[in-house]
Amino acid sequence: MSANVPQQGPTAGAATRRLLTPADNPLVRAVGRIPAGVHAKLLVAFGGVALLVVVLGALGLRLLGQSNERVDTLGTLQQRAFAYGKLRSDALYVRTLWAQNVGGDYYTVFPDLNREDFSADGPVIDRLIKSAATQIPASTFPDNLGFVPPPEDEVFLKRIRSTGRELSEVMRQIVDIDLVAPKRATSLRYRAELLTIDLSQHATELANTTRKRTNALIAENAGAYTSSRNLLVGAAAGTIVLALLLGFVLSWSLIGPIQRIDSRLAAIASGNFSGHVDVTNRDELGALAANVNRMNDELQRLYRELETASRHKSEFLANMSHELRTPLNAIIGFSQVLRDGLFGEVNAKQEEYLEDILTSGHHLLALINDVLDLSKVEAGQVQLELAPFSIEDALERGVSMVREQATRNGVQVTLHANDGLHVVTGDERRVRQVIFNLLSNAVKFTSAGGSVDVTATRANGEVRVSVADTGPGITEDDLGRIFEEFQQTEAGARQHEGTGLGLALSKRFVEMHGGRIWCDSEVGKGSTFVFTIPAAAVGR
């Protein structure tokens, strides 16, 4: 176990960055600290927004109602203005008619006026005035106006009514006198003229007053529209702002903790257990953060235990390998000396047993060496000794090492090394170990009459070596685990040979060079093991 564990706390840069995030807003954190679930908070937020919309709608309806009332009032006022305008028009008509009967010094100022016309038409005009004046009082009542006039209008209407009646009466007297002697009614005429002036003035004043009120209401409507519009726009803007604020605060009270938890989980995933996630929420996210912190602490504890156990295992293996290899060398050495007869002849039975001791001792030594190598690799104690070397020479040496066994098994080994392999940079000893592993496996599992072809090529800055045999092949299931420690194929297990560590070591050595290793195989036809290493490895 040799994972590189970064043991660092939050940096100053990260802290500064966090201070600038919206999630650190005091309001956002305050919402997070509210002791309610996320569901309740969301419900309240959406309810709040809905309430704001309802308030806005109610306000709009109220303003619409007020506007409607003003339109109604304006309609009534316009109806009154129209009726009073007609009344004024009638009064002015009477006034203008009377001007046709003007008397006094008028003819002194305007000498071109024909006084004779007056003499001829005077009685006719008088009758016209009488008729018109009689109609005016009747026009001031609600039945003829078409509406009930308000009290402020009634003051004017009463004046018009009384003046009209008086004028009507005076004109009746004038018409009666006209039948006898037209010019004798001088004083009545002055009275009548004054009444026509009063009548027209009262009617005009009423019309002007109503017109003024109408104009004022129109102006008020315009002002009210502006006020209503501003109020509605203001309320809508306020609603939008509040809704945005609510959305901002609530979303960041959720997003902030999630981001913090995510950040902490990422740190945990990369092996950093030094920090804790800081979430002040008192909801589900707060509980999640607390669990993440507990998980962090538990993982940290387990990780440290595993680290310790792994170190102990590596130390144990290294020590044990060393301790085992020393007596084993003595066993192998003395067995070899005895078998070779240096201390006297041995009989056939003794030689057979000595051969068994030697074979077992070599097997055990190989196993111990592989375990030692693997332990060192896992402990990170193996450093590649990079140097230029000839891959072709390495292959030839490998082939020569297995040739004797191949010949004994009846297997033909052929090397196809293309020209231009040149020199590569790598750890020659480890590469040769890989080549030997692959070749010895191939020879071992190939039946008599079979062949092993070794091919080496160079392309795209890497060297590619393949070892193809005509052995039994490897099943799909075995292909997935043959590069793991102590894993063997069924054929390997049956032969009771090998340690199950050769391919695992080969894989590690190739990968330390920055290369790859894999196997293509078909049961019954054979296997091809391939590895690549960069032409100029830098080591890992």
Partner: protein, 165 residues
């Protein structure tokens, strides 16, 4: 975020402050405006007599609205400044041989005002400066209106003076 909230609050404040505005005049302002309008309307009568005394037809015509109507007597209803001018020019008041002083009894002036409309009635006493006698006494009742910030006669109807009753 602070900028967003700040901008929103400013917007809200502006919108709400705009809602509170009111352009209604106070009662004293209305009374002041009314007095001012009545004074301006009464000045029409003053200018009317001044124009006759000085025989200044342009000053007289400046008192009428462009589309004013006027009834001076039997069959003498005219409209527009030009027609009104012609009637006045044919009157004795504007003859070269006439030396009248136009005066008026102030207590017989009556003016009303309602917004941009009003009424005005007054009498005219023409005094012959050569004989020192009253040559004629007439009257007029008018409708007036504020047009382009000036009070002008929109309808004039001549009348027999009330003094003669």
């Amino acid at each position: 975020m602070r900028t967003l909230i700040g901008g929103a609050l400013v917007l809200l404040t502006l919108a709400l402050s705009a809602c509170g505005g009111s352009d209604s005049n106070s009662a004293s302002d209305e009374a002041l405006q009314r007095d001012s309008d009545l004074y301006a309307i009464s000045q029409i009568e003053k200018s009317f007599h001044e124009a006759i005394t000085k025989r200044d037809i342009d000053e007289m015509m400046s008192l009428y609205a462009p589309n004013a109507t006027a009834t001076f007597g039997p069959g003498k209803t005219v409209s527009g400044r030009e027609q009104i001018r012609q009637v006045w020019l044919k009157s004795d008041a504007f003859k070269r041989t006439t030396n009248w002083l136009s005066d008026h009894p102030a207590y017989k002036l009556k003016a009303t005002v309602n917004g941009d409309r009003g009424t005005l009635r007054f009498e005219c006493h023409f005094v012959d400066l050569l004989t020192h006698k009253i040559a004629a006494v007439t009257g007029g009742s008018t409708d007036v209106a504020r047009i382009d910030d000036r009070w002008l006669i929109t309808n004039f109807v001549g009348s027999t003076a009330e003094l003669k009753r």
